[in-house]
């Protein structure tokens, strides 16, 4: 067997032009495995997390309050163990056997690090061996009489440039009769071209075109970075994709387990739950997830009415079933772990369901195999623990669920040779295209303190310095460059939103270029670099002729595309189907404010994802406060009391919070929670007491109503059912119906203005709906501003009275006129996006508010702030 060996050749391909039997290229890992096989010293692999766990056990046994690593170990035992294990492995892989120099006056005492590592080597507890131990073991095993079957070892770097222990291994191989030689160094340097593009997309366009414009039978493509963008361009040229992904912890299937383990603790986090339920590939049946998401969208909490209803629906759906319903309810609602720590066995039990689902998935879809295995590994690590804290669990999870690098599409068969780094190039080729050049170097080894290096040297252990390793990798790159004739480097200036740093390798490559004549020797390096550099703009001539690094293509011109804003008014012809059958106040207000928004929402039924519309902030607090008032009223009503006790309010708030505003229970929310609770307690108490002071008896909350509104539009009379419910309804001393609408808003001013201007249509509508007749009576109405704890009303029952400009009956008339006008428009198929219509109004045209006022119509501003259609109607459009 013939072996080519270089420090960085572990991922080098064995063959490009020539198939090879018994001819391999290996780095230290590959050579170790190969020798292990031949020497009969293979063994099962132990996962990294397991080894960390084992080492952690050893450290535990040598830990004491005075120990050097004690503080770190206390705050983060996992990472401390991981860090020290890495140091230990590095030392061992360089031949350290765990011992330190004898105590001696001449010898400086070893550092606390080495003393700790040494103590840990002797500490009880099993530590599974790793590649580091294998290296050390090889030295000994090579004394075995077993023939190795290796004829030749070709070194890709000077023998002395290998770490000392490897020099010893090489020497032993020689003794085994292996012929050791050095690969002939490259003598010429390639012709260099450097393309610097602004963005990865521009770079990819040029790189793909270059690959498409020549035959690549003798070409290597070095991908030192992910190729997802480049691959898209290759595909448009009909070329095979390179399929290099980035190592990332953020793959959906890597987030499944961490997400799950966040969700099992009380209090539940509905936003994370929604993320879990809508995670691509989540092992919850889609339909079931939809039910739950819908519940969260109704009320952002678990365990409330909406949640229970969803669980019930899942149970009743025979494609889902009650068993699933029970599991989901238990996992995300009733079975949440309270406190900050739990027992390992209990944790494992909680995850049984997920484990089962993952195993089942993995059996049919290999994409889930690693997640399934990872979960098992985590459970194995956790199960024996008496106590696991949430923090520890997170660390264990993050140690086991390691970043994966699967690209969206795997590499495809290609005429070119695909490499990760240039130094893996061992065959002679004509061209090399280097993609992701900024990453074109190697992570350097661990940095040891000079003192430690010295101490270990006394034990015959020579640690290579990161500087040596850096120099080695550069040398190997330069010598690999000599195996091609043209080297095309592609780099980008901006990546992932940041300016990139230059790779110093570039200067080195330029400096290594031969100098054809004496005068160029006087040129500065940057001038020489500039000579070989180009940008995408320089590659294409005014006639569309493109030329780059020896290849050319004829391009075609691009047609200009000028986007036009959508018309603000759409004429779609008479559309009887657009007649509203039913209207609530908010629908009416949308309809009057913007008919496009109303049609899209109510008729076309466009909506955003449930997971995207889980209420938060004011919307959530409004519903929550409503509910609290409603429940309190029920209590009071039963006992004929008018004003709740403070403690009672507090209790109700606490009871309902998990169902209606669960985010307030999350860590980091206590300040907000207590501020909101305080506000609510005070405000709700004011609400009840002011009502009673004002002589109002509260009768019902959420009083439902339905009344037909007679309208005439398009020459037709028809009626529309107006449906809804009034927040709070009561009766005053004169027997009049009182309606109060509860609002949670930051902008109290706006509501007060509505009262003052007499434009509070909502209140007028309630009075109309609760009374017979065509016009609402001027019975007492008010907004109650929950956040401010104040009423806004023009009636005297609610404290300070606000003056009012327009009577409700008149307002109602104007509203009916506006509704008829708008519906007529809509039925005629004239649908208007109000804001754009206002914006594009000609300078001299009257504004719409004025037109409405002149025609006696109630004017409603388009509800753009709460509208999901801003991109569609064009107000958020980009027409530049």
């Amino acid at each position: 067997m013939k072996i080519e060996f270089g420090w960085h050749l572990d991922r080098a391909p064995w063959a490009y032009n020539q198939p090879g039997l018994n001819h391999v290229r290996v780095g230290r890992k590959g050579l170790t495995t190969l020798l292990q096989t031949r020497l009969g010293i293979t063994r099962p692999d132990t996962g990294h997390a397991e080894r960390v766990n084992q080492y952690l056990g050893r450290l535990q046994s040598i830990d004491s309050p005075g120990a050097w690593f004690h503080d770190s170990f206390q705050v983060d035992s996992w990472s401390t163990a991981q860090e020290l294990l890495a140091a230990r492995d590095d030392a061992v892989s360089n031949g350290w056997d765990g011992t330190l120099p004898e105590n001696d006056a001449d010898v400086p005492t070893p550092s606390p690090l080495l003393r700790t590592l040494s103590a840990a080597e002797r500490a009880p507890g099993y530590l599974a061996p790793s590649l580091a131990d294998d290296t050390l073991e090889l030295l000994e095993a090579l004394d075995s009489p077993l023939p190795l079957g290796i004829e030749q070892l070709i070194l890709h770097q000077a023998e002395t440039s290998f770490p000392r222990i490897w020099q010893r291994i090489i020497a032993k191989l020689r003794r085994h009769g292996v012929r050791v030689s050095i690969a002939p160094p490259a003598t010429v340097q390639p012709q260099l071209t450097v393309l610097t593009a602004e963005t990865e997309w521009e770079a990819a366009e040029q790189a793909a075109r270059w690959l498409a414009s020549g035959d690549n039978a003798s070409t290597a493509v070095v991908c030192s970075d992910r190729t997802s963008v480049l691959d898209q361009y290759l595909a448009t040229h009909g070329l095979p994709r390179l399929g290099v992904g980035a190592r990332s912890p953020w793959r959906a299937q890597n987030q499944l387990i961490p997400l799950f383990f966040e969700l099992i603790w009380a209090p539940g986090d509905v936003r994370l739950l929604a993320e879990f339920l809508s995670l691509p590939g989540v092992p919850v049946r889609r339909r079931a997830a939809r039910h739950l998401l819908h519940a969260l969208q109704q009320a952002p909490g678990t365990g409330g009415e909406a949640w229970e209803k969803a669980i019930k629906e899942i149970a009743q759906d025979n494609t889902l079933g009650s068993e699933l319903a029970a599991v989901l309810d238990r996992t995300f609602n009733t079975g949440l772990i309270s406190g900050d720590t739990t027992n390992g066995a209990k944790l494992a039990e909680t995850a049984v369901w997920l484990g089962g689902r993952l195993r089942a998935r993995a059996a049919v879809d290999p994409a889930f195999q690693s997640a399934s295995a990872q979960l098992q590994r985590i459970l194995e690590l956790v199960a024996p623990l008496q106590e696991v804290s949430r923090r520890e669990l997170r660390r264990i999870v993050s140690t086991v669920v390691t970043p994966a690098a699967d690209p969206l599409v795997a590499a495809e068969a290609s005429p070119w040779l695909r490499l990760n780094q240039l130094h893996e190039l061992c065959d002679d080729v004509d061209n090399v295209l280097w993609w992701g050049f900024r990453n074109g170097s190697i992570a350097h080894g661990r940095r040891w303190d000079a003192h430690d290096v010295e101490t270990l040297a006394r034990m015959g252990v020579d640690l290579p310095s990161p500087e040596d390793l850096a120099a080695l990798s550069t040398q190997q790159t330069i010598s690999a460059a000599g195996r091609c004739r043209h080297l095309v480097i592609v780099q980008v200036e901006q990546l992932l939103g940041e300016r990139t740093e230059g790779n110093p390798l570039l200067e080195t490559l330029v400096a290594a270029q031969p100098l054809p004549n004496a005068e160029r020797a006087a040129e500065s390096l940057s001038a020489r670099l500039a000579k070989v550099s180009t940008t995408p703009a320089e590659l294409t001539g005014p006639d569309g002729r493109w030329q780059f690094a020896g290849r050319r293509a004829q391009l075609v011109p691009v047609n200009r595309h000028l986007p036009v804003p959508p018309a603000p008014v759409h004429e779609v012809g008479p559309s009887p189907s657009l007649r509203p059958e039913r209207l609530s106040f908010s629908q009416l207000s949308t309809l009057l404010g913007c008919s496009l928004a109303w049609v899209l929402a109510k008729k076309s039924k466009l909506s955003v994802a449930d997971a995207a519309s889980i209420p938060t902030d004011n919307q959530m607090l409004g519903t929550f406060a409503h509910k609290v008032v409603e429940v309190l009223h029920q209590h009071l009503d039963g006992e004929t009391r008018a004003v709740p006790e403070e403690a009672e309010i507090r209790l109700t708030i606490d009871e309902l919070m998990p169902h209606f505003a669960s985010e307030l229970l999350l860590p980091g929310q206590s300040r907000r929670r207590s501020a909101i609770t305080a506000t609510l307690v005070a405000s709700i108490s004011t609400f009840f007491s002011q009502l009673s002071r004002g002589g109002i008896v509260l009768q019902t909350m959420e009083q439902e109503f339905e009344k037909d509104l007679r309208l005439s539009a398009a020459g037709e009379d028809f009626s529309v059912a107006v449906k809804g419910s009034a927040d709070a309804m009561g009766i005053d001393t004169e027997g009049r119906t009182v309606v109060v609408d509860l609002k949670w808003t930051n902008n109290a001013k706006y509501r007060r203005e509505e009262i003052q201007q007499g434009t509070a249509l909502q209140l007028a509508l309630y009075q109309w709906a609760l009374h017979p007749g065509d016009a609402p009576p001027d019975d007492p109405t008010a907004f109650y501003l929950l956040k401010q704890g104040a009423f806004a009303s023009s009636h005297p029952h609610f404290g300070t009275q606000l003056p009012r400009a327009v009577e409700p009956a008149q307002l109602w008339m104007q509203a009916v006129a506006a509704a008829e006008f708008t519906i007529e428009e809509v039925l005629a198929g004239r649908i208007t996006a109000k804001q754009p219509a206002d914006d594009t109004r000609a300078e001299d045209a009257p504004d719409r508010a004025q037109m409405d006022a002149d025609a006696g119509r109630h004017h409603v501003k388009p509800p753009c702030r709460f509208c999901d259609f801003g991109v569609l109607c064009g107000i958020k459009g980009d027409f530049s």
Binding site: W14, A15, L34, T37, R38, G40, I41, W68, S79, Q82, S111, P145, P147, G149, T199, E205, R209, V229, Q232, H237, G238, G245, W250, Q253, L272, E275, S278, L279, P280, R394, A410, E412, S414, P415, R418, D449, H451, E467, A470, Q494, G497, E501, A511, A521, V556, V558, A609, A612, G668, S670, R671, S674, K749, R752, T800, L802, P803, V871, L872, G877
Partner: protein, 1073 residues
């Protein structure tokens, strides 16, 4: 020894080649033999660090190329290659690196996560939540009266933010929790001086009167008749505007205890409408008079100060603890912790001293007090330190830099160098800067020679350079900016060879940057600042919609957005017609869904389970064909950068998730992106005018620089939190004497008696002077950015700000007088002697020729930007190809389709093992391991040893005995000896092959080489009863692949294919039909 004896201070005035000097200092040392790893150098930005490394590397390589002696050449090359691993970077990156290496020495978690700028607030609130909640109970009632409970004026800083600000200031000035208590005491004592002696609390009376008078007001408004029976003007614009406001304000005075002080001060406007004034004015006056002696007011201020500091003190402690526990740290921690190591850890000091010899600090003037202390400490540990900076360019006081402290330290450095040659600017620009700033900085105590710039000999032959002065007399700020834009347009049209990209306009605020960019845009000149938010750019809207649709196929808004925005969708442009007129809209949506564009998104959804949100974005961008679309749109370069900026937003999201230890998902990102405003990418290139703030201009240069906002006022205040310094500098304890003064004011709109007192206080006077000095430095930075032309602007011809820098009557300009010539018609009159100049700039008594002009805003230009031809690839002639996966793994090749027979070839002996236990895989590996060695070369004892060792290593002693291995080996060996006596045995033969552009690399268990070809043997540890079926089902393809590979590699065929079942004691042969 003087603590600063090993320090050299290099003062590098603007444009004097600081980076060049730095490169030289470091490179020379390395050339003299200092290892690159022994240099630590800090810079202000990542970019500067990159540049510095690049330049040093280039210089070393150049020197290496020029070196005569090969070993020197090599060592210089090595040094150049070591730079990436060196400690050259921003202060934070260097500190971060050190902390990572010394984490355990510092008692920290080695897995420290650095909290990014954007996450700081979130983490702080998470950490201090409980403390804030606890203190909130006591603080909130006061905060409500102070208007800082979050419901007050929009600009009022909520109390929690004040706490955070104080915590931050404490941290960067190394103040402890205990120190903060002292700060409270001193703050209150200082503020108390502004107040009167406490008297009676008359708020009850005020309140009563207020309510009474409100009733009067209501009556008046209703009836139009006042108390006095006279008609009042209640229809005036003033009254109509003010009346509701007054009511709303008075309505906030529900109870005395809850009424904000701001209501007492300002329940009516300071210029009230007559009827309002008649009712309320005397009450207002009385309240104003009584305010400063009101004991409740005193108590609120005092309690507020004390409680805020007390809360901050606790937050300081808990925040540190929280981060420690969660393995988090921020930039300040990085510095503090390294400082602590340098001060207290002997191990660190020794290690650092033996490692680093040269410490270089760039932009020294912008180091924070904490960094200053850090550099002082570290400088003591090294042989030599070089600090490079320019006190005149210290412009980051708002970020916590203290120029005075800095100056004091710098003055103690015994060894100094001054760089005074401007390699940047032409003579006129240099002369102007000298004339303006020598007198200004003299007032800061700087000698003229530290300010004066000279042109180097080489540049003496350069053209003189130009000065211009633009008067924009408009009263409205926006109009003046438009006039400046018109000036830029004019300049571009009259100056040949000046491209838009050569011009920079500097402003004071981001709002001005935006306004100016818009004004330029209106004139058809593109500015660097893109006025659009990232989320509002078309390509981003399209991508976001695509991602939302991938995330949830039920998101019909996203679906419709794709249709509406994508010109390639079949319903594009018709969607409104189709959807709005549909009787059955669901069917319409269904139809849209069938479009290939959306089916590709659908299929992405299935792939998404293994993808990151970033990859989904990239794939969506690909599926929607965004890059080619962008090519046909306006500003394609900016749009492509937007795509990348969007990936930047994804990175921000990940960073937040990391800091909060929360998972990251596609849905989570969409929520994040929806809730964050992200700036869109900047425009760039030669056709873009640079518009930016003075602060951002630091370190940059342009041929033409227009200085805006030269008329703005100094902004300073006595109120709020600020860091103060007592006494003189002690180098041993440079941060001693620092404390935080916090003077709260409940009056966000000023206008109170407290404000009047505050304005006269020493604190305000000091603040004003400090601000004046800041402004001098900022203007210096601005003025020295110009290479060739400097343009000053003003409302009139005496720019207020420049004349308020401390030197009186410093600068003005005047146009050349030429009687009879009218300005606006004939345009500026040129001096025939000096073409281009039309007036003079008078600076400190001296005159400079300049082009002086008065500008008007130009009318909107209708000319749209031209379309420069763009090109793209011709449609690929090849049909879209389907390629097999690159990697061909022999073991995964299918068995079917390969017509073959499997026959028993030999019986080696009885079955050795019965069944396959769970751990059978390990047994298989062990058998393989044994057969993989050349065990035949060992004697029996050695064989047994080997077998035993293997069994031990695979931990299967409880399943099988070593004999199993030995026996199976022996009988197989015997079989080979008989069946293939003289054949060469290649155990674990490697085969590398590229069939049809695919890659195959594998190991063949045993390859026997005979004279005419090969025999391929594979060991299978299958213990079951149907080996033939097993082979047929699983291995035919694999074996066929190996056979082809061997043939390709050697040119010789595989004659026979054998499967050896060691556990069964049989050999089967596969023969092809």
């Amino acid at each position: 020894m003087n603590l600063l004896d090993n320090v050299t201070m290099v003062s590098a005035s603007a444009g004097t080649g600081k980076t060049f000097h730095l490169t030289q200092v470091i490179a020379e040392k390395i050339e003299d033999g200092l290892p690159a790893g022994a240099v630590m150098a800090t810079t202000f930005t990542k970019k500067a660090a990159g540049e510095l490394k690049e330049r040093i590397g280039a210089r070393l390589l150049e020197q290496s190329g020029a070196a005569r002696d090969a070993s020197r050449a090599e060592s210089l090359q090595r040094a150049a290659q070591q730079l990436p691993a060196s400690l050259i970077g921003t202060v934070n990156s260097v500190c971060g690196k050190l902390l990572q290496e010394y984490a355990i020495d510092a008692g920290l978690s080695p897995a420290l996560e650095v909290i990014g700028e954007e996450q700081l607030q979130g983490i702080f609130h998470l950490a201090t939540d409980a403390i804030l909640a606890e203190h909130g109970t006591d603080i909130l009632p006061i905060a409500r009266r102070m208007g800082t409970d979050g419901n007050g004026a929009r600009d009022a800083q909520p109390w929690e933010e004040t706490v955070r600000g104080i915590v931050d200031a404490a941290r960067t000035n190394l103040l402890s929790a205990d120190d903060l208590v002292g700060c409270a005491e001193r703050s209150w004592h200082g503020l108390r001086e502004l107040l009167d002696e406490p008297g009676q609390d008359e708020r009850q009376a005020w309140h009563r009167e207020l309510i009474e008078r409100r009733a009067q007001l209501d009556t008046l408004a209703r009836t139009g008749i006042g108390q006095d029976g006279k008609t009042a003007n209640v229809t005036s614009k003033g009254f109509l505007e003010q009346y509701p406001k007054v009511i709303q304000k008075i309505d906030q005075a529900v109870s005395v205890d809850d009424t904000p002080w701001e209501i007492w001060r300002g329940f009516i406007a300071s210029g009230p409408a007559a009827p309002i004034k008649a009712i309320f004015w005397d009450l207002r006056e009385r309240i104003h008079q009584g305010l400063l002696s009101n004991p409740a007011f005193h108590s609120d201020l005092e309690q507020y100060i004390r409680r805020i500091f007390a809360c901050a003190a606790e937050c300081l402690t808990i925040y540190a603890k929280f981060k420690r526990l969660h393995g988090l740290m921020d930039f300040v921690d990085q510095e503090t912790l390294v400082l602590e190591l340098a001060r207290t850890s002997k191990a660190f000091r020794e290690s650092f001293a033996s490692r680093i010899s040269l410490l270089v600090v760039d932009e020294f003037q912008d180091t924070s007090p904490l960094q200053l202390e850090l550099f002082l400490q570290l400088s003591r540990l090294v042989k030599e330190a070089v600090w490079v900076g320019d006190p005149k360019q210290s412009i980051y006081e708002f970020r916590g830099t203290d120029p005075d402290l800095m100056q004091a330290v710098v003055e103690r450095v015994p060894t100094r160098r001054q760089l005074s040659h401007s390699w940047r600017s032409h003579q006129a620009v240099v002369d102007l800067s000298n004339a303006v700033f020598e007198p200004v900085f003299a007032r800061h105590g700087m000698a003229p020679e530290t300010v004066h710039l000279e042109l180097p000999e080489d540049h003496k032959s350069w053209s003189a350079g130009n000065l211009e002065a633009w008067t924009r007399p408009q009263t409205n700020d926006g109009e003046r900016l438009r006039a400046t834009a018109a000036g830029v347009a004019d300049l571009l049209s009259r100056r040949d060879g000046i491209h838009p990209g050569d011009v920079a306009v500097l402003t004071r605020s981001n709002a001005d940057v935006e306004a100016l960019s818009a004004a330029l845009d209106a004139l058809g000149i593109r500015a660097s600042r893109n006025p659009r938010q990232l989320a509002d750019a078309r390509e981003i809207q399209l991508a976001r919609a695509g991602m939302a649709y991938v995330s949830d196929g039920y998101d019909t808004v996203a679906l419709t957005e794709v249709v509406a925005l994508h010109p390639g969708h079949h319903a594009h442009g018709k969607w409104q017609q189709q959807l709005l007129s549909a009787v059955d809209p669901a069917a319409v949506l269904e139809g849209w869904n069938m479009d290939p564009l959306l089916s590709s998104l659908d299929s992405l959804r299935t792939q998404a389970k293994t993808a990151t949100p970033t990859e989904i974005f990239e794939a969506v961008a690909g599926v929607l064909g965004l890059p080619p679309l962008i090519k046909s749109w306006s500003a394609p370069a900016t749009r492509l950068r937007n795509l990348d900026a969007f990936r930047g937003a994804l990175e921000d999201y990940y960073e937040r998730c990391l800091a909060l230890r929360s998972p990251a998902t596609l849905r989570g990102f969409l929520t994040f992106f929806g809730s964050e405003q992200q700036q869109s990418a900047e425009n760039a290139g030669p056709d873009v005018v640079n518009v930016l703030t003075y602060h951002k201009a630091k370190g940059l240069e342009w041929p033409v620089v227009v200085m805006e906002a030269l008329d703005k006022d100094l902004r300073f205040a006595a109120f709020g939190a600020a860091v103060e310094q007592d006494g003189t500098l002690d180098l041993e304890l440079p941060l001693a004497g620092r404390w935080i003064r916090f003077w709260p004011s409940p009056f966000p709109y000023a206008g109170s008696p407290l404000d009047a007192r505050g304005k006269e206080s020493q604190v305000a006077l000091d603040a004003e002077e400090r601000e004046r000095r800041n402004m001098a430095r900022l203007m210096y930075v601005g003025m020295t950015r110009a290479v060739e032309t400097n343009v000053l602007t003003g409302k009139g011809n005496v720019p207020g700000l420049l004349n308020n820098l401390g030197a009186e009557s410093l600068l003005s300009w005047s146009a050349a007088e030429e009687p009879g010539a009218s300005y606006s018609q004939a345009g500026p009159i040129e001096d025939p002697e000096l073409p281009g100049t039309t007036g003079t700039l008078n600076v400190a008594g001296g005159d400079f020729s300049a082009r002086v002009a008065t500008l008007e805003p130009a009318e909107q230009s209708v000319a749209t930007r031209g379309w420069v031809a763009r090109f793209t690839d011709a449609q690929s002639q090849l049909p879209p190809a389907l390629y097999p996966p690159s990697r061909l793994t022999a073991s995964s090749e299918g068995s079917d389709g390969d017509k073959a027979t499997v026959l028993l070839a030999a019986e080696l002996g009885p079955r050795l093992a019965e069944h396959g236990a769970d751990e059978w895989g390990a047994v298989g590996s062990a058998v393989h391991a044994y057969l993989g060695t050349a065990y035949g070369a060992l004697d029996t004892v050695q064989q047994r040893d080997l077998a035993e060792r293997i069994i031990g290593r695979w931990k299967i002693g409880h399943l099988v005995a070593p004999e199993l291995l030995v026996t199976s080996g022996a009988r197989f060996e015997e079989y080979l000896n008989t069946a293939f006596p003289a054949w060469i045995r290649h155990r674990e033969a490697a085969i590398g092959w590229r069939p049809e552009n695919r890659v195959m690399e594998g190991w063949i268990d045993l390859l026997l080489e005979g004279p005419d070809g090969y025999v391929l043997v594979d060991h299978k540890t299958y213990p079951g009863s149907d080996p033939e079926g097993h082979v047929r089902e699983k291995y035919l393809g694999q074996m066929a692949a190996y056979r082809s590979a061997v043939l390709a590699a050697t040119g010789k065929a595989v004659l026979r294919t054998l499967i050896h079942f060691p556990a069964l004691g049989r050999v089967y042969e596969i023969s092809q039909a």
